[in-house]
Amino acid sequence: MDHLTRLENKSIYIIREAYYQFKDIAMLWSVGKDSTTLLWLCRKAFFGHIPFPIIHIDTSYKFPEMYQFRDTRAKEWNLNLLIGRNEEKLKEGMGPGQGSKLDCCNELKTNALKSVIKKYHLKAILLGIRRDEHGIRAKERYFSPRDSQFKWDYENQPAELWDQYQSMVEEEEHFRIHPILHFAEFDIWNYVKREELPIIPLYFSKNGKRFRSIGCVPCCSPIDSNAQTIDEIVEEIRISKTSERSGRAQDKENIYTMQKLRALGYM
């Protein structure tokens, strides 16, 4: 079995197991490359028809290409798409320019997701996070017991898998399941290539710049790149020494800390 098939099998196994355990389940789709890969895997797991809803948390600040991509694919793949928006805060004018970026993310992402979970009585959410994408996610693996166990005895002890996930329950009462945790950025692009997955054009180079990671327009900046095809992206990532999210605004806490320190004349 080749590397990508092995990764794929692992993910599909987790997706099916998750659906078996929880009927009140949904998948979170940010429309980026990772969660689109996860969506693709979900389709594969259920032979083209996903038996649970797909949630998109809409901050209203996403790239226009993302909305377009979302709506086209949702129609084509016949998705049961739920849109989560914090209408109340959006009406109040919440945005990255107003208040801190931390508040903005909290309100428009976290709280929007919380209310979707509540509204639809969801018990479990599938997320497309990956171990290698962000310092914090890699760190959790090492410092939190839940992740050292999460590091996958599940192949041998499927019955205990869910007990181990139990320790991952955060303040919200739901399970978070990460079927593509073991994919690296490099794997994602190779997989996108192999599966001929549709992908948002923002990832491809335009005028010497491309986005390596996408989210809200004000908090993302493109990297210098001439990669115009998936092959070129794969090659670029193979030799790249900078982090995937270097174009993203920094950690929310760091931004806030910086703001606080600057207000008192430091930095």
Binding site: E253, T257, A263, Y266, M267
Partner: protein, 452 residues
């Protein structure tokens, strides 16, 4: 039946961020703080005290909290560079390498220090503490008691231990801090928010003070530091539009100290241990001094145009400065683009010291008061990250680490600057010092009290 026989030990410590000895003395003389004056007549003495070096809240409070110098606790400022890199990071409570006094007293310390070793086996039973709003205790780490982190706490949930503390604070709309960023827009409004924040702080402190069991209670008032940063010019100038408000804040503060003190004495009579301290002093700002610009003009610092903060440091750079005046040699072994070899370091340090002493203000007055080499002031296992030189300015010149300034001298919105030499402490009169105390020396007296 009492399970634990022995003397009841109770301590109340009040921290007041950034209150200078000199201002406090003046206000006491002018009878503006009658309650504190009354308290001082009851077997307590006011001392002038040195802050930590540098005189930054995170360093000074950590020095007090651990009772050791930065060489042992590892905190040198609000910012640092990650090892062998130019990326800025923000040290927090997890980076403190020495145990705090509440960890030692609570017998929960997992680290050791010269102080904890000294009292090893002398604390018989664990003491429970309430630690409230002390800077640089974020995120709140598990301890024996209750902890609510102070500046720079971001997320209230992570700033509280145990969880029930969060529930209460959340329910009362607790504020971690005033929004200092708003001071630029509307000073009047900001002044108002300082009082509001102080009200909430008092309410929360009183709640834990009265409602929780504790052996040691340590609460910090941090609004004073913010007040001083933006309004210190109003502290003694009757013409200043904020003079009244400034005094009113001190009157409120005086009342709150009285409230806590009286409650404490009522419950534990004179047997308790009482102490008040600040972490640094304050003085009016004449000018801000951008040390990096100075180093750049002297050819010691070369910056690229692009990049964030210290990522701009080029390989020709010999030295750079981090807030407020922590000068680091751009060593070959320490930084990716570093070029200064170990054997060149001594001469380079001498050269930089000489150059710094030439830095003069408008009237030819000296800007730099003291220059310390790392080895002079830092001792312990964590001096690797220590700055090679630290400067203290003459009062009035606020040294800064900014990399974006076009001139060496400049102005900002700030009216006050930290001072090293003018912090204060109020201690039981039986404690005396042969020379001016430093903030980290006080901690020993607290633990000593519990070990007797």
């Amino acid at each position: 039946m009492k399970l634990f026989k022995g003397k009841v030990k109770k301590a109340l410590i009040i921290g007041i961020d950034g209150v200078p000895y000199s201002l406090l003395s003046t206000y006491l003389q002018k009878d503006l703080m009658p309650n504190l004056k009354m308290i001082l007549s009851q077997g307590l003495t006011l001392h002038q005290m040195n802050a930590s070096i540098p005189d930054i809240s995170s360093v000074s409070w950590t020095s007090f909290n651990t009772g050791v110098n930065p060489g042992e606790h590892g905190i040198y400022g609000f910012t640092d560079l990650k090892p062998n890199s130019y990326s800025l990071c923000f040290p927090n409570s997890k980076d403190i390498k020495a145990p705090t006094f509440w960890e030692i007293l609570g017998k929960t310390n997992q680290k050791t220090s010269t102080l904890s070793q000294k009292y090893y086996n002398k604390i018989i039973h664990p003491y429970r503490s309430v630690i409230f709003n002390v800077p640089h205790t974020y995120p709140a780490l598990p301890m024996n008691g209750i902890l609510v982190s102070g500046f720079v706490a971001i997320d209230l949930k992570k700033a509280t231990f145990p969880d029930s503390t969060y529930t209460y604070l959340h329910s009362m709309n607790y504020l971690i801090d005033v929004e200092a960023e708003k001071a630029k827009e509307d000073k009047m409004e900001f002044m108002k928010s300082l009082f509001e924040c102080f009200e909430i702080r008092k309410k929360a402190i009183s709640h834990f003070f009265a409602g929780e069991p504790w052996d040691l209670f340590f609460a910090c008032i941090t609004e004073t530091d913010r007040l001083h940063h933006f309004f210190f010019d109003a502290s003694s100038d009757k013409e200043n539009p904020y003079y009244e408000s400034f005094l009113r804040f001190y009157v409120e503060l005086d009342k709150f100290i009285k409230y806590l003190y009286e409650q404490f004495v009522e419950r534990y009579s004179e047997k308790g241990f009482f102490m008040i301290l600040s972490d640094h002093g304050f003085a009016p700002v004449k000018k801000e001094v951008y040390i990096n610009k100075f180093l750049e003009e002297k050819g010691l610092l070369v910056l690229k145009k692009e990049g964030n903060f210290y990522e701009r440091v080029e390989n020709k750079t010999k030295a750079f400065n981090l807030d407020p005046c922590r000068i680091y040699i751009h060593g070959k072994d320490a930084y990716p683009r570093g070029t200064v070899r170990e054997e060149e370091k001594t001469d380079l340090l001498e050269e930089i010291k000489k150059i710094l002493r030439t830095l003069k203000g408008e009237n030819g007055d000296e800007v730099i008061d003291k220059i310390f080499e790392k080895e002079d002031i830092y001792h312990g296992p964590h001096t690797r990250m220590a700055p090679d030189l630290v400067c203290l300015p003459k009062d009035g010149y606020d040294l800064k680490g900014s990399l974006e300034k076009k001139e060496i001298f400049g102005y900002n919105v700030f009216k006050g600057m930290h001072t090293w030499h003018d912090a204060f402490c109020i201690l039981p009169s039986n404690i005396s010092f042969s020379k001016k105390p430093s903030v980290e020396e006080l901690t020993d007296y607290i633990i000593q009290y519990y070990s007797q």
